[in-house]
Structures are given as structure tokens and as C-alpha cells.
């Protein structure tokens, strides 16, 4: 029986090493909670800018506010405001993501930038940058605001699906949820921001809490 346990232990060890050497496991659930919170704040600012509620339908608001350049509010036209708001949300989310992940890595005694972290970062960055540039072109060249929310959701979902090979496998399901939301948002084009808030805000927070409970408690 002793030998039995010994072999079982060996298999567990092999499995752990294979995981550890290919996946970045220090990603913190709290990063998700923080990113979700910033996303909700960012979305709330857009509603404030438009003087609207989540269920009003953006197409109507776009028409009312943005005809012939639209009025300026807070010193910015709508497009500039959207870009500034989105950039601020992204920077806050990324920084807090780094912070909580760094804390978790430190607690586990692992370096933040090991080989698997670099691999994860690269596999996150490439599809995300593609999606980001794609959306910027839609926004700046074609002034097509309505497609931004569905497109960011879909690109983000595909990114997570891809990245799940390099970190905790659970983010695969978050990715699938984001893709489904993105497709629904494409159908209901006028309510993009509502779906965006659910995808980047609510889902991140729910998921972050779930991951925190599962891996960090």
C-alpha cells in the first residue's frame, strides 16, 4: 500500500509541474472585481454624459445629442469623451490587475514575471490590441459608436478563450459568456452600453469573487 501511495504522489507531482511550467496561476480574482468596478464607473459616466438611463436605447440618444457634431459637455465632444473614458477605465483596470496579481504572486513566493507570465501577457496583448485598434478605426473613421460595445465584448471573449490555455482554465467560461453577450449586443445594437456594463462590469465582479473564493481563501 505504501508503494501505491508513493506512485500516486509521483503522478500528482508530475501533474503539478506540468501545470506550473505552462500556466500562470497567480492571476488574482480580486483583479476581476476591481476591473469590473472600474468598468461600471466608466459606464455610469457615459450615462451621466448622455443624461440617460441604461434602458433608454442609445440610438435615440445619439440622434439627440450628436447630430452635426453634437454639443460639448465637460469640455469634450461625445467621441473624445468616449475615448478618454475608455482609456481611463482600461488604465485603472490594468493597474489594479497588476497590483492584486503581484500581491498574490508574492504571497505564493513566485516571481511576477516568470516565463509563463510572459507567455500569458503576450497571448492577452495580441488579440486585445487587434480588437482595440479595430474599434478605434470604427469610432474615429466611421463614427460608428453602436458597434463598439459588441465588438469589444467579442474580442475580449475570444482573447480570454485563447488565454485560458496559459492561466487558470476557468477564464474559458468567462470568455464564452463575453462572446455570447457580444453577439446578443450585436442584435440589440442600441443597447450596447448596457451589455458592455454587464459583460465588463457585472461578469468581472461575479467571476472575480468566484475565483477568489475558489483559489485564494
Amino acid at each position: 500500500m505504501n508503494e501505491h501511495n508513493q506512485h500516486l504522489e509521483t503522478l500528482t507531482e508530475i501533474r503539478a509541474l506540468m501545470e506550473k511550467s505552462t500556466r500562470f496561476l497567480s492571476l488574482s480574482g480580486l483583479s476581476g472585481v476591481a476591473a469590473g468596478t472600474f468598468a461600471l464607473i466608466g459606464a455610469a459616466l457615459v450615462y451621466l454624459y448622455l443624461d440617460a438611463g441604461p434602458f433608454d436605447g442609445e440610438r435615440y440618444l445619439e440622434n439627440r445629442h450628436l447630430q452635426a457634431g453634437g454639443p460639448k459637455k465637460w469640455g469634450m465632444d461625445y467621441y473624445t469623451f468616449l475615448i478618454v473614458d475608455a482609456a481611463a477605465v482600461m488604465i485603472c483596470a490594468v493597474l489594479s490587475g497588476f497590483y492584486f496579481t503581484w500581491k498574490k504572486a508574492k504571497k505564493k513566493g513566485e516571481p511576477l514575471f516568470n516565463a509563463s507570465a510572459k507567455r500569458l501577457a503576450l497571448n492577452l496583448a495580441l488579440p486585445l490590441a487587434t480588437g482595440g485598434i479595430f474599434c478605434l478605426i470604427l469610432l474615429l473613421k466611421y463614427k460608428w459608436v453602436g458597434i463598439i460595445a459588441p465588438a469589444t465584448l467579442i474580442f475580449y471573449g475570444l482573447t480570454l478563450l485563447n488565454a485560458s490555455k496559459y492561466t487558470l482554465d476557468d477564464i474559458r467560461y468567462l470568455g464564452i459568456c463575453e462572446i455570447i453577450l457580444g453577439l446578443i449586443a450585436t442584435w440589440y445594437m442600441g443597447y450596447g452600453l448596457l451589455f458592455w456594463s454587464i459583460g465588463f462590469g457585472v461578469l468581472h465582479i461575479v467571476y472575480g469573487i468566484y475565483m477568489y473564493q475558489k483559489y485564494e481563501r
Binding site: 500500500m1 508503494e3 501505491h4 506512485h7 500516486l8 509521483t10 503522478l11 507531482e13 508530475i14 509541474l17 506540468m18 506550473k20 511550467s21 505552462t22 516571481p111 516568470n114 516565463a115
Partner: protein
């Protein structure tokens, strides 16, 4: 029972050698430094186990220059992959018999 025992490869009865193979099985190429970090062993200890696996022709060694620094990395050979898989299968068989 005897049959299974013979399938358990002697080259893998050491924890560190098994660890080296585990890491190399799922990564294309791994440097000495990363192996050392992952397995938490000393340079000399790791080097001797690498040498043993190399002698069996289970792993191959690649030397290249990154900038001006020489860098050594390791990968599994076809023979090594087969031996490792056989070893895992033998372990699995052993555990199944006892359950």
C-alpha cells in the same frame, strides 16, 4: 505484477529526473535557469540529473548565444517522450491493479 514493475523505468525513479521530464514534456524548450526555478534545486544537482537523462538520449541540448551570453536549453527527444509515456502508463497500470 512483475511485468508492470519492469515497465517502470529506472531512469525515472528519481524525483528530479522525473520533474525535468515532466516540464520538458509540455514545453518546447526550457532553459537551465527555468528548470532550476521550477524544481528548486542547486546547479550541480540539476546538472548531474540532466547529464543522466542526456546519456539515455531522453533529452537533447541546444546551445545558442543570446546577445553575448551563451544560453543552454533542453528539449525531449522522441525516445524520451516514448520512455516517459511508457513510464506513466506503467504507473497507471500499477494504481489500477490495486484499486
Amino acid at each position: 505484477m512483475k511485468n508492470i514493475i519492469t515497465h517502470l523505468n529506472k531512469a525515472f525513479d528519481n524525483r528530479i529526473r522525473l520533474g525535468i521530464m515532466s516540464i520538458l514534456m509540455v514545453n518546447d524548450r526550457v532553459t537551465f535557469k527555468i528548470l532550476k526555478e521550477m524544481l528548486e534545486v542547486t546547479d550541480g544537482n540539476l546538472a548531474s540529473h540532466i547529464k543522466a537523462l542526456e546519456k539515455e538520449e531522453y533529452i537533447s541540448i541546444h546551445k545558442e548565444f543570446v546577445g553575448r551570453k551563451p544560453q543552454t536549453s533542453y528539449a525531449t527527444t522522441v525516445l524520451g517522450r516514448k520512455a516517459f509515456n511508457d513510464h506513466l502508463n506503467a504507473l497507471e497500470q500499477f494504481l489500477k491493479k490495486r484499486d
